[in-house]
């Protein structure tokens, strides 16, 4: 019904919320002010691990201006983002598990008063042995940080074996075994988390919050507050950056809602930057061991990956994160047989969770450096090696991830070309080098976080006689441009301008559910729902207008704010008139669209993490310069090619690619969430080394490199007009590309991030003394692995289920993870 030329899609244009953002008019949670509003502060534990013996709020309550002190006994129902990890309370019940764990919520007439009263809540603690490192948690079963799962301080153990590994490694000419460490880091979203809760005119409670996942917050509030979900409204305000930081349910959100219900007044809470570091949910520190068998010609015959994941004090997304450390190793290159073992332990540090790339950058880092070592040993160009082993389109991997389109080979060829790779690799003078790495990422998790058969995203359209359209969707704007995708796609289908459409998003009272802004799911899932809704509306109008114009429906074109005859463009009506005629004929015009991902061929337990409707692909070349005296590393330039399927708004696509490169550069060179013990004369507590933006180093304008961005468009049939994700995937290759470039520059291997000058100097020193010039972990500790679940891969004729898996479990085989 329309021409092949897109009117909106593919054209760079101002995002729909652009004007609001440059005028300072975008309303973030902390910008909300209400009559009679009061302020809340959370009192947090100074101990990393302790029993709470008593909490006495009486002095705080006597402080002038204090209205309410909530403690654990006021909110006793646990919650958690994952159904398998319902291990958090709004306020600690009987023990604290990290410095920063909240024990009381103080509400007062203003923030300063609440802050003053924090000193007046008397809490008695009995300190417990503290676990700082995963190795300690593995060695000591007692005291247990949590006692609801597994054994000792192990949170989760995974052992999935896809095929006969002896056979796989037996077919190899060379076997490589390497260990890598990826330090944890924080999202450092510039907006500190904030929330406002208020009781509505009719007595229901509303929470405005800087959250990426209003639907999950809505569910958790219903549980924790014991009130029907229909009587709770969650509105996600525009997020001042998310990157995963705001995708969990936070103590302050539940406490603010509770306090509003107790006091009958609006309650506001805003984190300090230090509190943001203690809320965390950032990148998990991961220790890895990777064993890979390859033919002399480079093909991988088998891979065995072990990960040890430092979870911090609570479950959060951790079970999913741990599965993700293994799930996507097979999606980038052809790996016919694969064994994945993952272990997440609890430590007494802020809980880790999802950060851009969620669990996948760490093993990608290891695999891409190992490939560089493999290429070196096989005397192959690492770009050529990768081209040779790229996974094939329309295949199912060893762990039953279904790959659709794959533009990776084109990405590699493009970055090799634009970076002049062949003239630089191993040819630059000592001190300068280039490195290459690749990656893939999900365009949305194939399963929702809690098991249900409902759509993952819904869009509702209201059309009326004004000629304008309102698009309702639960999708959440975190800066990535989800409102723009929604509006752009509806405009494209209906042939109107984006400015004719109003987006109403992320409001659980008004908008159909969208699961949230995580796992790079929004463009694909909401986008498909938006197209379906818009096509539905278009079909209603087309039926009426075809009759009105007395032409067949298939000759109608919706474009330029008109509906007209393709063969005689003069013969037509304006879009507004078309809606009026339709409304007169059909009554109120509305349409809905829904999206549910296709079923996954992974039928084994644990196969719920990793499936996606489409995978994006990236390849990057980084150039580095090393000062061998100081170890200082600078990265002048990165070339990046990303297969986005279809670029819906090229301005935003480029922004996501460059933002990912930037964040990857930060993780490669400087960002780390690390801890130290206070001196024992103080408390011996395990505290964040530098919970401030000044000392938690992140790249400034001076550190940011030049980026050459190449967008590869290989439209995927599962994506909206072929689009795949772009927000996370391009981060993944940056860290290993930098490390591989360091090797090209000075011949030392830095097998962990961040790559600091100290590490480079240590490796150079070893090199000078004739030893292996390497900095990185030496061993992987013993883990009490359970027996593997053996799942024959496609090449062994498997059907996606485990040997011994009862038939009844096959249909149900699922893990409800993001």
């Amino acid at each position: 019904m329309k021409g092949s030329e897109f009117q909106v899609v593919g054209h760079p244009r101002r995002r729909v919320d652009g004007r609001a953002k440059v005028t300072g008019k975008t309303v973030y949670a902390d910008d909300i002010v209400m009559p009679r509003m009061v302020w809340m502060k959370l009192l947090r534990s100074p101990h990393p691990h302790a029993k709470i013996l008593s909490i006495d709020p009486s002095r705080a309550l006597a402080h002038p201006g204090v209205m309410l002190v909530l403690t654990g006994k006021d909110l006793t129902i646990p919650y958690g983002i994952l159904p398998v990890s319902q291990d958090e309370h709004p306020l600690c019940q009987d023990k604290v598990r990290y410095v920063g764990d909240p024990v009381a919520a103080i509400v007062a007439r203003d923030e300063l008063t609440a802050f003053e009263a924090m000193d007046l809540v008397d809490v008695k603690y009995e300190p417990l042995r503290t676990f700082a490192e995963p190795e300690e948690s593995l060695q000591h079963d007692e005291p247990r940080i949590h006692d609801y799962c597994g054994q000792g301080n192990i949170h989760k153990l995974i052992n999935l074996q896809f095929g006969d590994m002896d056979k796989g490694f037996g077919e190899a000419d060379e076997i490589f075994e390497d260990r890598f460490f990826y330090q944890g880091n924080n999202h450092l979203a510039l907006e500190q988390h904030a929330s406002v809760a208020a009781v509505d005119l009719d007595g229901k409670v509303t929470l405005w919050s800087s959250t990426q996942t209003p639907h999950y917050v809505h569910r958790a509030l219903a549980k924790a507050l014991e009130i029907p979900a229909a009587h709770i409204r969650v509105i996600a305000t525009s997020n001042g950056g998310g990157f995963g930081a705001k995708s969990d349910i936070f103590h302050h959100e539940v406490c603010a809602a509770k306090a509003a219900l107790v006091l009958g007044r609006p309650v506001k809470v805003c984190m300090t930057r230090e509190e943001v570091f203690y809320c965390h949910r950032g990148r998990h520190p991961v220790l890895m061991e990777i064993k890979t068998g390859v033919k002399k010609t480079g093909e991988i015959t088998a891979m065995h990956l072990k990960t040890l994941v430092d979870g911090g004090g609570y479950g959060s997304y951790g079970v999913a994160s741990t599965f993700y450390t293994g799930a996507l190793q097979t999606v980038t290159y052809d790996v016919p047989r694969y064994h994945f073992q993952g272990c997440r332990v609890f430590t007494n540090k802020p809980p880790c969770g999802p950060k851009r790339g969620h669990g996948t950058p760490q093993p990608r880092f290891g695999q891409e450096i190992q490939l560089d070592k493999i290429a070196e040993r096989l005397e192959m160009d690492p770009a050529d090696l990768r081209l040779k082993i790229v996974a094939k389109p329309n295949t199912v991997t060893a762990n039953y991830m279904r790959i659709g389109t794959i533009g990776l080979a084109e990405c590699i060829r493009r970055v090799v070309d634009v970076s002049d790779w062949k003239k630089r690799f191993r040819k630059l003078p000592r001190g300068r080098g280039v490195g290459i790495a690749c990656a893939s990422y999900l365009s949305g998790a194939g399963l929702p976080i809690y098991w249900n058969k409902m759509p993952h995203s819904g869009v509702q359209l209201k059309l009326d006689r004004s000629g304008g359209v309102t698009a309702f969707c639960g999708c959440t704007e975190i800066g990535q441009g989800s409102d723009d995708v929604l509006v752009g796609l509806v405009a494209e289908v209906l042939g109107i301008e984006p400015f004719d459409i109003r987006a109403v998003t992320a409001d659980t009272d008004l908008t159909p559910v969208d699961l949230g802004s995580y796992s790079s799911r929004v463009t694909l899932m909401m986008g498909n729902a938006a197209i379906q809704a818009a096509e539905n509306a278009r079909d209603q109008i087309a039926g009426v207008i075809a009759k009105h114009l007395e032409i067949p429906r298939n000759r109608l074109v919706f474009a330029d704010r008109r509906v007209f005859d393709a063969e005689n463009p003069e013969h037509g009506v304006s879009f507004q008139e078309a809606v009026c005629l339709s409304e007169a004929k059909l009554g109120t015009i509305g349409a809905v669209g829904s999206y549910t991902p296709p079923p996954s061929p992974a039928r084994y337990k644990g196969g719920g993490v990793g499936p996606s409707p489409a995978y994006s692909y990236s390849a990057a070349v980084a150039e580095v310069e090393i000062d061998e005296e100081t170890g200082w590393i600078s990265v002048p330039k990165i070339w990046m090619a990303h297969d986005v399927g279809r670029s819906l708004n090229p301005t935003l696509v480029r922004g996501q690619v460059e933002g990912s490169v930037y964040m990857g550069l930060g993780e490669a060179l400087m960002e780390e969430q690390t801890f130290r013990r206070l001196p024992s004369r103080l408390s011996n507590a395990l505290v964040h080394k530098f919970p401030s933006i000044l000392e938690y180093k992140s790249p400034t304008t001076h550190d940011m490199c030049d980026v050459v961005t190449e967008i590869i468009e290989d439209p995927d049939p599962n994506g909206p007009f072929g689009a795949k994700e772009v927000g996370q995937g391009p981060l993944l290759p940056i860290m290993p590309a930098v490390c591989n470039a360091v090797f090209d520059a000075v011949g030392v291997r830095i097998d962990e991030v961040p790559v600091t000058p100290e590490k480079v100097l240590k490796a150079l020193d070893l090199q000078r003394r004739g030893k292996e010039g390497r900095y990185g972990p030496e061993k992987f500790p013993d883990v009490p692995w359970p027996n593997p679940s053996v799942i024959p891969p496609p090449i062994e004729g498997g059907d996606g289920s485990a040997i011994d898996q009862p038939d009844s479990a096959k249909k149900k085989a699922k893990v409800n993870q993001p």
């Binding site: 919320d17 609001a20 953002k21 440059v22 300063l112 525009s238 460059e658 933006i693 980026v707």
Partner: protein, 170 residues
């Protein structure tokens, strides 16, 4: 559970000119300029990311110079001129910087944008046509976690062009 209301901490009263409008404002004397703007003058466009002078989100122009409003006390601002993001537009027309940032991806989440816009405006006033290096230097104290800065640099450069076009038109 309600405590007896007590007197507020001592208040300060100053007169300052914000975005060309002179106002008298009464506020708790401990407050920073950032807090006075956001909480007492109903100007929430200026943001905060740390309140310790580390992130640059709260930058405003004080007597024409970029400052971090979280490090300036309100009581220091008596009789002074302040310019915030709310003052960039002329009537309902966007400043060329605002236009360029909106069009070229200079703002993603938008949280660092107000601070960057006023800092960039100062640069354009000081140096008509800044080099990329000058833009990089002046924005080195403004963190942005979304863009990787490159589209911000390009937006500033485009704004220079658009400023020129506007001058030529008028």
């Amino acid at each position: 559970m309600t405590a007896t209301p007590q007197p507020q901490p001592s208040n300060a009263r100053i007169t300052l000119t914000v975005n060309g409008e002179e106002s008298e404002v009464l506020f708790a004397s401990y407050k920073t300029l950032l807090e006075v703007l956001r909480e007492d003058m109903n100007l929430p466009g200026t943001k905060h990311g740390c309140e310790l002078g580390e992130c640059g989100a709260c930058a405003v122009l004080l007597d024409g110079q970029p400052v971090l409003s979280c490090l300036v006390l309100g009581v220091e601002c008596d009789g002074r001129q302040v310019e915030t993001v709310e003052g960039l537009m002329e009537g309902n027309e966007l400043h060329p910087l605002q236009e360029a940032f909106a069009d070229l991806g200079g703002a993603q989440c938008g949280y660092c944008t107000p601070g960057i816009l006023v800092t960039a405006k100062h640069l354009l006033e000081e140096v008509g046509t800044p080099s990329r290096e000058q833009i990089r230097e002046v924005l080195a104290g403004n963190l942005c976690r979304c863009t990787g800065y490159l589209q911000i640099f390009e937006s500033v450069e485009e704004a220079v062009v658009r400023c020129g076009e506007r001058k030529a038109d008028s």
